[in-house]
Symmetry: C2
């Protein structure tokens, strides 16, 4: 088997949040009106919070304020079949008075995204899939 | 702004499931004992179902059988800031009598994963982030 020996290693919190901070995109997860939802968004990691920019009319703005949500980021390499993933859980809240500069998440879609959603982190889990030892 | 003009386009079901089938990895999302959970797993798309392999002692096996779950896959390019994402919702069930060959998902971590979890699809959403028109 080609997969023999590759195994998962738990990451400590500092390592996991450092990896989360190192990538521009993750997936916001919530239990919304249409059911469990996970969509890719741009984020920044700042002061132990995940910050996301969104529009006032988005499902994120309508459904995530003051809710428990999760946020997942990963970097997986299909070639070597290795990589890492981080899962943050916490309470999301819209920052009505946030300075736009505070969350310089540089959203990939065009158009203004004036609202900032902040996830106050409750728990952090991280795992790395590493090659077999030599 | 560098993001001006890039925009999201909804994908039809056939396009969305075709993209899901074209990648080896997605994120299984469920509302578990520890809260909302999303973790990367290997999948195959077969007969309108998402199939994943797992172990009998995994959180997936303990918590997802006969539950409504979601499954997200994407391919995002940080260079061009374009890409696609697909979100499937459906009911998961462990296939106790599944032929292991039926779900040849080739899990990246080593070790046996004898259980097959099948997600019977209820809904499919897909979006593509495309560059501005010329």
């Amino acid at each position: 088997m080609t997969t023999t020996g590759r195994h998962l290693v738990d990451l400590d919190r500092a390592t996991a949040t450092g990896l989360l901070a190192s990538v521009p995109v993750g997936r916001l997860v919530w239990d919304g009106s249409a059911g469990l939802t996970a969509i890719p968004v741009n984020h920044v990691w700042q002061d132990d919070r995940v910050l996301i920019r969104t529009t006032a009319y988005s499902a994120i703005a309508r459904e995530c304020d003051d809710q428990l949500v999760a946020y997942e980021a990963d970097d997986l390499d299909a070639g070597s079949r290795t990589g890492w993933s981080v899962l943050v859980r916490g309470r999301a809240s819209i920052q009505w008075h946030a300075d736009a500069a505070e969350a310089d998440t540089a959203p990939w879609p065009g158009g203004p995204r004036p609202l900032v959603l902040a996830i106050e982190v409750v728990s952090v889990e991280g795992r790395r899939l590493v090659p077999a030892e030599h």
